[in-house]
Symmetry: C2
Subunit: 168 residues, 2 copies
């Protein structure tokens, strides 16, 4: 899953500047050598462009893509404990602690003591639901933007090919 590992604010700005919608990326004057022939490199550039747009769009709501991803996971699994949530997000459970602290401080989720009293169940607050509704508007706009040059068929084909890559 690996929802975190997200760009921070500064990195978002740099990614934006480099690959954003403001026209041509400021291409290095340097030769790129072997790099452009590599599938992984092309994948990285595309990921960077898409993720940069996502970060800029979602970031202005005051959250990073990683934290938003965690919030979406909690939405889909209300009452989930921290350790399985961390596993689903591809993070260590110790890494999840301060991340959840922040989401809790923002008032978007809360920890409730579970039946097994070692665990915390995670629940969205009303504010958290409101926030997610607003975030999803941004997400939809983002999806429209990045897929603007693809037909529905091409979009589906891209997802299929990405899946093949992943299962390789």
């Amino acid at each position: 899953m690996e929802l975190s590992n997200s760009l921070n604010t500064k990195q978002m700005e740099r990614a934006d500047r480099r690959v954003g919608r403001s026209g041509a990326p400021d291409r290095p004057v340097l030769a790129s050598g072997l790099l452009p022939q590599l599938l992984g490199y092309q994948l990285r550039l595309a990921h960077l462009a898409v993720f940069g747009d996502f970060s800029a769009s979602v970031g202005s709501l005051g959250i990073t893509p990683g934290r938003l991803g965690v919030l979406l996971l909690v939405e889909a699994n209300e009452g989930v404990a921290q350790t399985p949530l961390a596993a689903a997000a591809g993070l260590d459970r110790s890494t999840m602690v301060p991340l959840l602290d922040q989401l809790e401080q923002s008032g978007w989720l809360e920890r409730r003591r579970g039946p097994d009293r070692r665990t915390n169940g995670l629940w969205l607050t009303v504010a958290g639901r409101d926030f997610l509704a607003r975030a999803k508007v941004r997400i939809r706009a983002h999806e429209r933007r990045i897929a603007a040059r693809l037909s529905a068929k091409e979009r589906a084909e891209l997802i299929r090919l990405l899946g093949l890559l992943r299962s390789g």
Copy 2:
């Protein structure tokens, strides 16, 4: 370019465990909610899988993908100064300093005083060339592995679609 920002050893191992070739990824028991429908998320998973394979393959040579990328850029632009190299790699020039220190300590490149005596020209050493030759063998094997499930036509189509995404 953004060659760095690479996975470290620990992250490589985790990525490997999660998406590697050892069979099924250990899927979270959790519902994934909105996430799987997002193009950016699918892109991220594919990138993670490919980058994990690349890291594992290249990492056993004692270098991170980010540093190897810088080495490839120097190969394609011998004599380049630090600042334009940093720009091409998407890094700050201050970030490039310790990175180049390491490559220099590994004996793969050297700084030579340029005609403008404020600058260092960067040059591969003989050992650096040898190393790159070995690394390229790994890179080719990696490309074969990740594209194993794609026909030549599909591979080309994937690159085309990724390009469309990027120029969106």
